[in-house]
Amino acid sequence: MKQPTAEQQKHHKTQQSEQPPLLCQRLLEWVLPETLQEPVLGDLQEEFIERQQQNRSRACWWYRQQTLSTCWHFIYQTKGDWLMFVLSVVFFIAVSLWAMFIAGAGNSGMFYDLVSLVLIIPPAVLFAVGATSGHTLQQAMAFLLNPRPGADPLTYQQISHFFNVMGNSALLLGFFSTLIGVVAIANAMNADNFASSFGQATAVCLLTLLYGCALKTLCYVAAQKVSFVARESGKNESVLG
C-alpha cells in the first residue's frame, strides 16, 4: 500500500477541520479514472479552501455541485458497465412490483411475507458462503459495486460459483419451503374447512417459491455479468465456460 507523503501528513494535521464533504470525495474517488483522481480532487480542494474562507456552507454547496457535475461527466466512461447492470436490476424490481400491484388489484400486501423472506435469503447466502468462503462473499459484493476487468481468472471463477450456489440454493429452498407448507395444509385440511385452509394458506406457502425464483433470477444475471467481465479481461475464457 502507498505510504502517505510528508506533504500529506502535514495536511492531515493542519487542515482536518477544513476538509470538503467526505462523502463527495469518496464518490469522486469511486467515479473518476485513476489518472485524474489526484489532479481533480486537488483542484477542487484548492478552490474549496479559498471559498470556505468567505462562507463554509456555500463552499460545501459548491463542492457538492461540482461533485455531481463531475460524476455526470465521468460515470458513463468509468462505470458504464456497472450502471447498466444496476439499471437492469432496478428495472426488474420495478416491473415485478408493478406486476404485483396489478395482480393484487391495488392491494399488493399479499406478496410480502417476512417469514418467507427469512426462509429464503439468509439460508441461501449461508449456503453460498459455506460452499465457497467468507472472502468470496466479500469479493462478490466488491464485484457488484465495481465490476471492472483485471482480476485473476480464479477470482472470477469463485465469484461466479458463489452466485450460482446462492441462486440455486434459493430456488431449491423455495421448493422445499413450499412443500413444507403443502404438507401442513394437507394435514389440516378436511371437508369442513377446505375453502379456508386451501386458499390463503396455499398463497402464503407459494411465496417462498416466488422469493426463491426472484433471487435465482438476480443471481443468474450477476453470474452472467461475472462471465462477461472475465471474458472481457481476456484472461480466463476457458475457466468459466
Binding site: T5, H11, E38, P39, V40, E46, T70, C71
Partner: protein
C-alpha cells in the same frame, strides 16, 4: 482528414487559456481564468473531459507537478499546448477570419439581415 483538424469553441478557449497561463496552466487556474475572462463557468468535470480529449488528440500534453498541503497533498496536473494544438488554433482562427471577412464584403443591408446589426463586432 482536413476536417478533423478543426476544433470546437470550448476547445479553442481552453487551448488559448493554457497558452496564456503558460507554466501555471492547471485545472483550477484554467477554470477560474475562463470564468473571469469570458464568463464561462465550467464545472471541473466538464473542463477535465475536454482537457482529456485534447490530450488524446495530441493538442495538449499533461504532466503531474508538485503536491501541496492546501490540495490535500495531491499533485497538480500542468498542461501545455503542443505544436499540433497551435496549428489547430491557427487553422480555426484563419477559417473564422475568412468567414467574417466574407460577411464584411457584403452590402450593409445583407449584413444587417444576416447578423442582426452586429457591425460593431466586425
Amino acid at each position: 482528414m482536413a476536417q478533423d483538424k478543426f476544433i470546437g469553441e470550448l476547445e479553442q478557449m481552453i487551448l488559448l487559456t493554457v497558452l496564456q497561463l503558460k507554466a501555471e496552466a492547471y485545472g483550477s487556474q484554467i477554470r477560474q481564468y475562463l470564468a473571469e475572462a469570458v464568463g464561462r463557468d465550467l464545472s471541473i468535470g466538464a473542463l477535465y473531459t475536454t482537457l482529456e480529449r485534447l490530450e488524446q488528440k495530441g493538442m495538449l500534453t499533461g504532466r503531474l507537478g508538485e503536491a501541496t498541503a492546501e490540495r490535500g497533498g495531491r499533485a497538480k496536473k500542468y498542461f501545455a499546448v503542443t505544436a499540433e494544438g497551435q496549428q489547430a488554433l491557427n487553422r480555426s482562427k484563419q477559417a473564422l477570419d475568412q468567414l467574417w471577412q466574407g460577411l464584411v464584403r457584403q452590402s450593409g443591408k445583407q449584413l444587417n439581415t444576416v447578423v442582426n446589426g452586429s457591425e460593431v463586432l466586425l
